[in-house]
Symmetry: C2
Subunit: 446 residues, 2 copies
């Protein structure tokens, strides 16, 4: 069970490092493929290749399937040579095989696939986009005829599935392999074996098309509480199956992407990327931010005359701009998630923007009074407190507006509302904040 | 299937609104509980209560279980009265029943539970924290004796499960109800009925304790590719089961919480909260941000003399501060996700901070050269370009440092590294940015 697994895995790793491959193979068969994948990933490359070459192909391939893309399982295939690589691929479900083959350089891909007996499934899966239902599905799906009896269906399931498979749902199809129903495998156990498939099946709770986005697939599975969702083509023919474990990985990966986008990082930057990769991933957005930051600065440029006569205004610039940016980022985080979860029906845009502006206005009064009083107390110019209060109040309203308006506009334009939104929000709150503070300062103080 | 569901649901809603409850009930039985839940949530309260009262309890309760917490299914229980409420609860799996009962005010809770026959399970689940495995699990778990034959086991499964249940896995226990193995239900179909449970079961890939955090549970299920994970107590006795559909909801909710925390919003603010709720949820962090923003401002306060002699420095303040904040937020997003995914083994902290500072240094040179050249060209003071270049370069290094260091420190202190990190990062980049720009300005320009 799960007690002290780390110790066992450390021992396993040590066996490989000491080149005691017989003991390594024997122990490796008794750990979970995910754990074996971790052990393999932690080995030096030479040791890893020797260890994989010694493992029985069904064990090595199960571990390969559990390795992260960032751990480059395809490099193991390259190292063991096309014959053994093909043997490993044949052991894998077609979706995992396609994922690994897709990472190989084109010539190596051809060399390996040439040795794979049933290469058609893998090649078809490679034609789908990685982020789509087609890229996520496996073609190993158990289908039975709707007119079969349950005992015939059970025999058919035995024939179609390998011993290590444990299908959750079986699908009923008509003569043209069109999907007509789902039979939870538990029903096969509980119902009388003489009944027909068509009498115990039910309508599938949900189906997806191969071109649908993987995030949509995850949301459909969560909504309809299904552990697996069938993929059908435009003619309702059954193409494959997506299971919950692939979907949990998708949702985890989307969380990372969403946070990176919000932070102004290329969402495809691997978290453990080298500094060289990180530089080239972040520099483009850094340069975009440089341009947006210039809007705020150009307001200050125009008000240099005001500032030179009331330099104390410069003290309050970062607070007004920062608090507006904070209010904007708060509104942005809420709005981006509402859009992602489709919790924002069209036609409600005005109400959403209005709410965020109202929140900004209320918080703006509170913070404006505190900071304005502080400005009055520290002094430096008559009416300074009033200028700071009004600028703060106005800029928090701008923040609420920008945080809701900008992602809504990006969504309408067909762009991803999470990408770069925070930069545009900050540019707007900086610019308006300085305009309010220095404009009011020029009017009231001088 | 899933073709044009919206139209069908609009019709269903219209039937309820026209008070044609007979037709409503007939149609409601044919849609998915998740869809029925949406229709109920969209109705006026009076209509909703009348509609629920007409529905057969098994259909009404399935829809209640699919309502979001924010849609307040417990209000329906309150409205239909304790007798029918108890009937609805008895139809529900214990985890869903406990979730809804937990939202009732204490006196109503007692009134409803008094009518529930088997209240012990629900009450025990209420003792676990909502964010824990115990709060997520259902107590409806099918357990068979390890010494039974498979045909005895199948009979036992028929006895323990209701017709609408479709268990994926069955659990093998010993005489003291200690969990000893898992039997995928497919094996019961495929293997000979004379074999014993102990001969076909395998060790559970993973188990969890009721007090474990729900995010950990999600990660364990994704790692070991299990659609359900059993919950056991310290004596390995089987308490309940957590299924993948609850876990997908958890991961979706965590994505929302992570983004809200990053944006400086209380992660428990409901996305559709009223402006009053939003104000009180955001004001505390707004006030904290006000204090952190004062650090940067106080640097400017101290350098008013410098600024009054070279007011052009104020133009570059927002760019230096903003770009440093941007670099810091980028490093922060990456580091927060690495910590959340446990991809940062202890002892690597120095390497991580070093990488982020290096990324900041490289991007800082690029941006510093562009902005420094611009500053030179716009003029205003001799050496202004050099001051801007150096301040930009330094502040992007500070950003990289802050974005990695602050979440690492918060994690070591046992605090959530995502909460408020972005505020502290921005406070540091503002303060250091102004210090660099105005300090260098005072030295080199005047």
């Amino acid at each position: 069970m799960s007690s002290a697994p780390d110790l066992r895995l450390d021992e396993l790793r040590a066996l490989a490092e000491q080149d005691d491959l017989r003991a390594f193979v024997e122990r490796a068969a008794r750990v979970h493929p995910s754990d074996l994948a971790d052990v393999l990933a932690a080995l030096e490359e030479g040791t890893r290749v020797r260890a994989v070459a010694e493992l029985p192909p069904e064990i090595a391939s199960a571990a390969l399937a559990e390795m992260e893309t960032a751990e480059h399982p395809e490099e193991i295939l390259l190292a063991v040579g096309p014959d053994y690589a093909a043997e490993l691929l044949e052991e894998l479900p077609s979706d995992d095989a396609a994922d690994i083959v897709g990472e190989l350089p084109p010539d190596a891909r051809e060399a390996v696939l040439a040795e794979v007996e049933d290469r058609a499934d893998v090649e078809r899966l490679l034609t789908y986009s990685e982020d789509s239902a087609g890229g996520l599905m496996t073609t190993e799906v158990v289908a039975v005829d709707q007119d079969a009896t349950l005992s015939e269906a059970i025999a058919e399931i035995r024939r179609q599935s390998r011993e290590e498979d444990e299908p959750y749902d079986v699908y009923a199809v008509d003569g043209a392999r069109r999907l007509v129903g789902t039979i939870p495998i538990a029903r096969l156990v509980v119902q009388s074996p003489d009944r027909r498939v068509r009498d115990v099946m039910r309508a599938p709770a949900a189906v997806v098309r191969p071109e649908q986005d993987q995030e949509q697939v995850a949301r459909i599975m969560a909504r309809y509480n299904v552990a697996a969702v069938p993929v059908v083509d435009a003619g309702e023919r059954l193409l494959g199956l997506i299971t919950f474990d692939d979907v949990i990985d998708v949702v985890e990966a989307e969380t990372t992407e969403d946070l990176l986008k919000f932070g102004g990082v290329n969402p495809h930057e691997e978290l453990g990327a080298s500094w060289r990769v990180a530089v080239s991933s972040r520099l483009p957005w850094t340069l975009v931010n440089m341009i947006t930051a210039c809007f705020g600065a150009s307001v200050v440029y125009l008000f240099q005359g005001t500032l030179s006569r009331a330099v104390v205004l410069a003290v309050w610039m970062p607070i007004i701009a920062g608090m507006g940016g904070n209010a904007g980022t708060q509104a942005l985080a809420v709005t981006v998630r509402r859009l992602a979860l489709k919790q924002l029906p069209r036609g409600r845009a005005v109400a959403v923007i209005g709410k965020e502006m109202l929140v900004g206005a209320v918080n703006g009064v509170v913070v404006g009074l505190v900071v304005g009083t502080l400005a009055s107390a520290l002094g430096g110019a008559q009416f300074l407190g009033v200028v700071v209060l009004l600028a703060m109040w106005g800029n928090l309203i701008v923040g609420g507006f920008a945080g809701a308006f900008i992602p809504l506009v990006l969504e309408r334009l067909g762009a991803d509302p999470a990408v770069a939104s925070s930069m545009f929000v900050t540019a707007l709150t900086d610019t308006c904040g300085f305009l309010l503070l220095l404009g009011l300062g020029a009017t009231l103080l001088l």
